[in-house]
């Protein structure tokens, strides 16, 4: 963590030196991108913004989104807004927008023809409230990936699995070789996210939407979802020896071959890249766990709080344009391991896994993600449930499903 902070700080100082002419306007940008791959990506954004003659003041907040968001929100509601801030687009900033604390970007969007270039359309939809656009999506992050360590499977002497079921079947062999079959970090959002991925992969797209979009509690208590809980039960048994907290520590177990695999979003790919690993040779990725090849269009977006200073407001417009600039999009997303939000950019430099993602995106096999479908309140309750489920073997599958159905019944 220390090292990552340092990297972020270095990136910030590097950005300082690029500062343009005297007319430059300082704009503080807060975000929670502090791991190695993330810091490298955010430095690209800073470089692009500084090239416009303005100055990116880096406000990285270490921890994770869960730590950073309360700080960002209390700064905005407390009357000390930053120039721009990251959120996951969807419902995290919904109330801030409704309270009139965020800038309406519709003019910039019309000028840049965002409605035509941003793909898939659902991204811009989740930035839109009452017909006005309030945020700039910068990337598409999908959770639906299973990252496998080639080394671990070689050591255990089993062939690389092609989907989740084969992976579960290979688990005993991995355990015998002293390898943790599945790495799941101790933080609540990781176990909760893993379940959501299983819901979409094992249950299928319709099941996923019926539970989280229609919030059908009866269905959530039914046999379709019971199958998913069975899979989650497999997952927690495979993960029981993971003694790490952070997601990147868990990814590191896969990178070093101490764990067989990890269910994690495509941001894990940045870590593989920083470690100098090659997709296909050192690690293998299975979108949709190899069962249901869809990707969710969650991701990161920048919101711009309303500022009094006219110069800063102008700089906000420039930043909004810069973020969607094709060149920035490519440079940023290659480092970040995420997919660009524009369909018209050239991504030949992308690696195997990203290309798989792009192909799925081109087919249009996309689903909305929980950030867009559920309120933070429901998300938190879900996290509490799955944190308990993964850590406590005594909590039975039936009991957990019952509590899950109750949660869906009261979800908003």
């Amino acid at each position: 963590m220390r090292y990552k902070l340092l990297t972020a700080a270095l990136a910030a100082t590097a950005a300082l030196q690029f500062a343009g002419p005297a007319a430059a306007t300082d704009l503080e940008v807060t975000h929670w991108w502090t791991s190695g791959g993330e810091a490298a990506a955010v430095a690209e954004l800073a470089k692009a913004f500084d090239a416009t003659g303005n100055h990116w003041v880096d406000g990285a907040i270490a921890g994770s989104g869960g730590t950073a968001r309360p700080i960002m929100i209390s700064r905005i509601t407390g009357g000390d807004p930053m120039g721009a801030t990251q959120f996951n687009h969807g419902r995290q900033a919904e109330e801030l927008v409704q309270a009139g604390l965020m800038r309406d970007l519709t003019d910039v969007a019309t000028k840049g023809k965002w409605t035509e270039v941003v793909r898939p359309k659902s991204l811009l939809d989740s930035c839109t409230i009452d017909g006005k656009i309030y945020c700039v999506p910068v990337n598409i992050h999908s959770w639906q990936w299973l990252w496998l360590s080639n080394e671990a499977f070689e050591k255990a002497g089993v062939p690389m699995p092609k989907d989740w079921n084969e992976f579960v079947a290979a688990a005993p062999a991995l355990e015998k070789a002293g390898i943790i079959p599945l790495a799941v970090g101790g933080q609540a959002w990781q176990s909760s996210g893993a379940f959501d991925v299983l819901l979409a992969a094992v249950g299928g797209t319709d099941t996923f939407l019926k539970v989280y979009k229609d919030k059908d509690a009866k269905f959530a208590a039914g046999p379709e979802v019971a199958k998913v809980f069975k899979a989650a039960d497999d997952a927690r048994k495979m993960a029981k020896n993971t003694n790490v907290q952070d997601w990147n520590q868990a990814t590191n177990l896969v990178i070093t071959g101490k764990a067989g695999g990890q269910i994690m979003g495509d941001w894990a790919q940045g870590e593989f890249q920083v470690a100098g690993k090659t997709a296909g040779k050192d690690y293998t990725c299975l979108p949709g766990l190899g069962l249901n090849e869809v990707i969710a269009t969650g991701g990161d977006a920048f919101y711009f709080p309303v500022l009094k200073d006219a110069d800063k407001s102008k700089a906000q417009d420039v930043l909004a344009e810069t973020l969607l600039d094709p060149k920035t999009q490519v440079a940023f997303n290659l480092k970040k391991g995420s997919l660009p939000v524009r369909g018209d950019v050239d991504l030949n430099a992308a690696n195997d896994c990203m290309k798989k993602g792009l192909a799925i995106l081109a087919k249009g096999a996309v689903i909305p993600w929980t950030d867009q479908l559920l309120s933070q309140d429901t998300q938190k309750q879900k996290e509490d449930l799955f944190a308990e489920f993964f850590a406590k073997p005594e909590l039975t599958v039936e009991e957990a499903q019952k509590r899950f159905a109750d949660l869906i019944a009261s979800a908003d």
């Binding site: 869960g66 968001r69 309360p70 929100i73 209390s74 509601t77 995290q92 919904e94 109330e95 801030l96 309270a99 101790g186 933080q187 609540a188 003694n243 907290q245 309120s375 933070q376 309140d377 998300q379 938190k380 309750q381 509490d384 944190a387 308990e388 489920f389 993964f390 850590a391 406590k392 509590r403 009261s410």
Partner: protein, 318 residues
């Protein structure tokens, strides 16, 4: 009363009252007694009323609303409380608080008093020992938590050291075991807190008159009996102060848990203060957070009110 103040009072009465009533107004209005002191305490009174009482009432009021990210006066009755008491995580938090509270109360009093009594035996290097025992208190709970997180980590803490010494089946990983994790947290809290309790107790012991000891010795009362039946009852005020300090530490425990386990494994080491924080800021559900904090306040009130009544209500203090 200060002479200057009395002068002021006289002048005022001289100005406002007819001269023949002057003798009657010799006794000033009680409201103006100690006027300087009263004026000086206005800022603190305002702080207490506006920030503490006002903030508390505001929180209780909004706990009956369905406020999400921003406070809104949209009343929903007791819904937030029904939901709170149906939430497994809250129930676990309460249970943990009770266990943690019982442990810290009993052990910090017992260990603190024993250490103080031992130090009180006119031993050599007393200052050195006192410093050593009090030192952990200089660390914040966050630092304490991190240190003990490492010590209790099975891969490079105590378990690892003992296994390296040859006992390969030795197992000690309280922070990774749901059923005993709260005891692991209590160990760190005791390590940090008993030093202070020891100092308070030592101060109390030093306050006991030497003659009492002599008298007890003359009567042939054994030392442990002297402590138990004479000294401890005489230290009642010190015990009450200590009790208040320990109890407030128990109810507000938060940072220690965050640093050691962040509530894990799963939700096995959650505490009420963390529930409040998580639901107010992570879940963006102020109403639920306020309801939980109101319940915390209520638990404090239930403890404090009967005690305050017994202490101050029944009889006049001498």
């Amino acid at each position: 009363m200060l002479p200057a103040l009395r002068m002021q009072g006289r002048e005022r009465t001289a100005l406002t009252q007819p001269a023949d009533e002057m003798s009657k107004s010799e006794r000033p209005n009680p409201l103006f007694r100690n006027l300087n002191a009263k004026v000086a305490s206005i800022p603190m009174i305002l702080t207490a009323v506006v920030v503490f009482v006002g903030g508390t009432l505001w929180t209780v009021l909004y706990s009956f609303t369905n406020s999400k990210l921003l406070p809104r006066l949209n009343f929903v009755g007791l819904d937030q409380y029904y939901r709170l008491w149906a939430t497994p995580r809250w129930l676990i938090s309460i249970e943990n608080l009770l266990i943690y509270g019982a442990i810290s109360l009993v052990f910090s009093l017992v260990i603190g008093f024993l250490l103080a009594a031992l130090l009180d035996q006119k031993i050599r290097f007393e200052d050195t020992f006192r410093t050593i025992f009090l030192y952990p208190f200089a660390l914040s709970f966050i630092v304490t938590g991190l240190v003990w997180q490492w010590l209790l980590n099975p891969d490079f803490g105590i378990q690892h050291v003992v296994r390296d010494l040859g006992w390969t089946s030795f197992s000690f990983d309280p922070l990774y075991n749901s059923s005993i994790v709260i005891y692991g947290i209590s160990i760190a809290a005791l390590w940090q807190g008993t030093g202070l309790i020891m100092c308070l107790m030592l101060a109390g012991l030093r306050g006991i008159d030497e003659d009492i000891w002599k008298a007890a010795r003359v009567d042939g009362i054994p030392m442990w009996k002297t402590y138990l039946f004479i000294v401890i009852p005489m230290m009642r005020p010190v015990f009450i102060t200590t009790l208040v300090i320990i109890a407030s530490g128990i109810v507000k425990v938060y940072d220690l848990v965050v640093a050691q386990t962040s509530g894990g494994p799963g939700i096995a080491s959650e505490v009420p203060a963390k529930y409040v924080y998580d639901y107010m800021f992570f879940a963006q559900n102020l109403g639920q957070g306020f309801a939980a904090s109101t319940m915390m306040l209520l638990s404090v009130v239930i403890v404090i009110v009967p005690w305050a009544y017994l202490e101050f209500g029944g009889r006049k203090r001498v």
